[in-house]
């Protein structure tokens, strides 16, 4: 389905729109307050952008340093070119452990590679432990936000879901009651399942350390209790030095949840005998990232730290919600990331799902100029002839018209007598779309230039 079609359905869902509006505005306001108390926020943004930019410039070097540091610390590093390879690597490890269940946290990258589906085909059930991910999984629903995957649901809907799917009768829509129900459901599994799969927020090349930040503590249990831990991460998650966390751990929580610090920041380096998982694997995932890296304008997308501040301020996202993007990465960042990761094969119309208002760029903690990348990707689609011939022809004709004064003035005169390129004969589709909800302006009898000539 195209974004336009999916959005049309989503826009009709008034409950979803109320839920998303309320939640994004709340988080957006919290972010604004948390950012306002940092006097050097703009400098921090610049620092975040340049750390990421420098890392990407020498990504090959940093990846190899990460690999050797982690190997020294007792971890195993795997390289995956695409989603399928990554899933196979994970499946091999799970099979070797003879596990039939795995627990999961920070699942965004594994959702990108559709790991749960691959596990399920192999007879392994994946249990999402992040509360919002768990809600989405229980409902058989799709994620709609990077950080709050169930943002399109409100508490009453979630309580209903828990009653139906978990068989817990005494649950109401009070957050404490909901959390208690989730804990009851998850705790036993957290204590018994032998294999955990996590994502990563950051990875440190010089030490081989992996870092996740989270709010619930389930992530910490996932990364400490099981026998075996597998981390699946995109190659762009790397930071060269330990000290770079000093910048990133200020930028991320404030941008993401409006908190000074996340309730749980977990860092682990390889394997420690007798303490925590005794077998630790990292799967480094490319899946289109090196293609994005090769694009001089598009590569800034790889700076993204998945805070989702851009989603919470986007006027399009606020109204359509995340599912209309039909990508695990929705909103403004999704509109540039998703098409690039598939070499424009999927989600190609997402760069059009923006007014270029620039609200996303204003809040991005690593200064990704999202409007610039959106425009760039629109250009790539035109160059690769992925847009209709009608549009290409019309735009070429219009450029030719504007390129000469004589033809421009002729078009103006034609518009004035009501039959010209700017009115009915020209591009009936777009005009009909405009007139769905807006009157067309009347074309005045006299253009500005004719007035100027006559005065």
């Amino acid at each position: 389905m195209s974004f336009r079609e999916a959005a049309r359905d989503a826009l009709a869902d008034s409950q979803m729109r109320a839920n998303v509006r309320r939640a994004t505005r709340t988080i957006g306001m919290r972010r604004a307050a948390a950012v306002a108390e940092v006097p050097d926020w703009e400098e921090l943004r610049h620092a975040g952008a340049s750390i990421k930019e420098a890392t990407l410039r020498h990504l090959d070097v940093h990846l190899q340093r990460f690999e050797s540091a982690l190997q020294q610390a007792g971890g195993v590093v795997h390289w995956a070119l695409d989603a399928q390879q990554a899933c196979e690597i994970v499946l091999d490890i799970v099979r070797a452990e003879r596990a039939t269940e795995v627990i999961k946290v920070k699942s965004l990258t594994t959702d990108e590679i559709q790991l749960n589906e691959a596990l399920s085909r192999a007879g392994v059930s994946a249990i999402e432990t992040d509360l919002a991910e768990m809600i989405v999984q229980l409902a058989g629903d799709r994620q709609s936000h990077i950080l709050v995957p169930a943002i399109h649901r409100n508490r009453a809907e979630i309580a209903d879901l828990f009653r139906q799917r978990l068989g817990i009768e005494d649950v109401d829509d009070d957050p404490r009651s909901l959390t208690a129900a989730a804990r009851e459901h998850l705790r036993e599994r957290l204590l018994s399942v032998p294999v955990a799969i996590s994502g990563a927020n950051f990875a440190i090349a010089e030490t081989g350390t992996v870092c996740i930040v989270e709010s619930e503590g389930n992530g910490r249990m996932c990364t400490t209790l099981p026998r075996t831990l597998i981390t699946v991460m995109g190659i762009e998650k790397l930071l060269p030095r330990w000290q770079d966390l000093g910048v990133m751990l200020q930028l991320l929580p404030r941008s993401a949840t409006g908190e000074r610090m996340s309730p749980y920041t977990s860092l682990w380096t390889g394997v420690t005998p007798g303490d925590g998982p005794q077998s630790f694997h990292v799967v480094l995932l490319d899946a289109g990232r090196t293609d994005a890296l090769a694009d001089p304008v598009g590569r800034q997308s790889l700076r993204c730290i998945r805070c989702s501040a851009c989603l919470n301020v986007c006027p399009v996202y606020e109204r359509t919600g995340g599912q209309a993007y039909e990508s695990i990465y929705p909103g403004p960042i999704g509109a540039i990331l998703a098409p690039q990761l598939s070499r424009l094969e999927r989600n190609g119309d997402l760069p059009d799902a923006s007014t270029l208002c620039g609200a996303c760029y204003e809040v991005c903690p690593v200064r990704i100029d999202i409007p610039e990348v959106l425009v760039h990707l629109r250009g790539r689609r035109v160059r690769e002839r992925r847009v209709g011939a009608g549009e290409r022809l019309a735009m070429r004709a219009l450029a030719a018209t504007f390129a000469r004064r004589e033809s421009y003035e002729a078009a103006q005169r034609a518009a004035q007598i009501g039959r010209g390129p700017l009115r009915h004969a020209f591009w009936p589709g777009p005009l009909a779309a405009w007139r769905q909800s807006r009157d067309l302006p009347e074309v005045p009898a006299q253009s500005f230039r004719d007035w100027w000539r006559q005065r």
């Binding site: 208002c357 609200a359 070429r396 450029a399 390129a403 405009w434 909800s437």
Partner: protein, 245 residues
């Protein structure tokens, strides 16, 4: 001061009153206004829609037309942003270093109208009189790309008889976005509806802005609703001296 007007294709063709008002206002303030007749379009639509070749033709044309102008004024935040903030980068990305350096010399001389009045000409009270209740819509490109936010408000507050009504969610886009309005008309309409609700809630008789593209969108929605609230370009308010209009 000698001022060269870049009127924009949209004002020239569809909203000439905003162009005439710009000339009247600047001349009333004692400036000479020049209008190079060879000008057409800045190329923003082509650039934003991904048609770089078409946009580049128009960028070159703009450079040739305005090369000798000392101070360029335009009644559009969006077109000013395109020229000043994006022209040099676009030329750079296409690898045309000569064009890029020509543009870097030219584009800092381009100003949006309210920016010119406040930041360059240093005038807040332009001698206008407009006894109406109005609200002001900030265009996204003026506010975010040019940093024009306080300038139009300073100018409006100095207009005699004018009552400026504050609008809720002033920083939110109206949903126009050029081709967005026709490629995603449903999402665009949802954004417009919220904007119209906020406009109507102010109780203003008119919605004023510095970009006729936003005004075409908001005005098209207001007209469709038969709301009885009209749209007006900032220049038209500032040009008004209270005589019949």
């Amino acid at each position: 001061m000698r001022l060269t007007l870049f009127v924009t294709c949209l004002v020239d063709t569809l909203f000439p009153a905003a162009g005439r008002a710009t000339v009247e206002l600047l001349e009333r303030l004692g400036h000479d206004v020049d209008f190079p007749i060879e000008q057409t379009c800045c190329g923003q639509m082509h650039s934003n829609a991904g048609y770089e070749a078409g946009s580049l033709r128009l960028i070159r044309r703009f450079a040739e037309t305005f090369e000798d102008a000392e101070t360029i004024v335009t009644p559009s935040g969006s077109c000013a942003a395109m020229v000043r903030e994006r022209y040099p980068r676009i030329a750079e990305m296409t690898g045309d270093a000569r064009l890029a350096s020509r543009l870097r010399a030219l584009t800092p001389r381009v100003h949006e109208l309210s920016e010119l009045l406040i930041d360059v000409l240093d005038v807040e009270d332009v001698g206008a009189s407009f006894p109406h209740r109005v609200t002001y819509h900030h265009s996204c490109h003026a506010r975010r790309a040019l940093g024009v936010q306080h300038q139009p408000l300073l100018l409006l507050r100095a207009v005699r008889g004018l009552q400026l009504a504050e609008i809720a969610s002033a920083e939110t886009c109206c949903g126009f976005g050029g081709t967005f309005a026709v490629k995603n008309p449903e999402a665009s309409t949802a954004m417009l509806t919220d904007k119209l609700r906020n406009v109507l809630n102010t109780g203003a008789e008119m919605c004023v802005a510095s970009d006729v593209s936003c005004l075409m969108h908001i005005g098209g929605g207001l007209a469709r609703m038969r709301a009885g609230v009209r749209t007006l370009h900032l220049a038209e308010v500032l040009a008004s001296t209270g005589e019949a209009r």
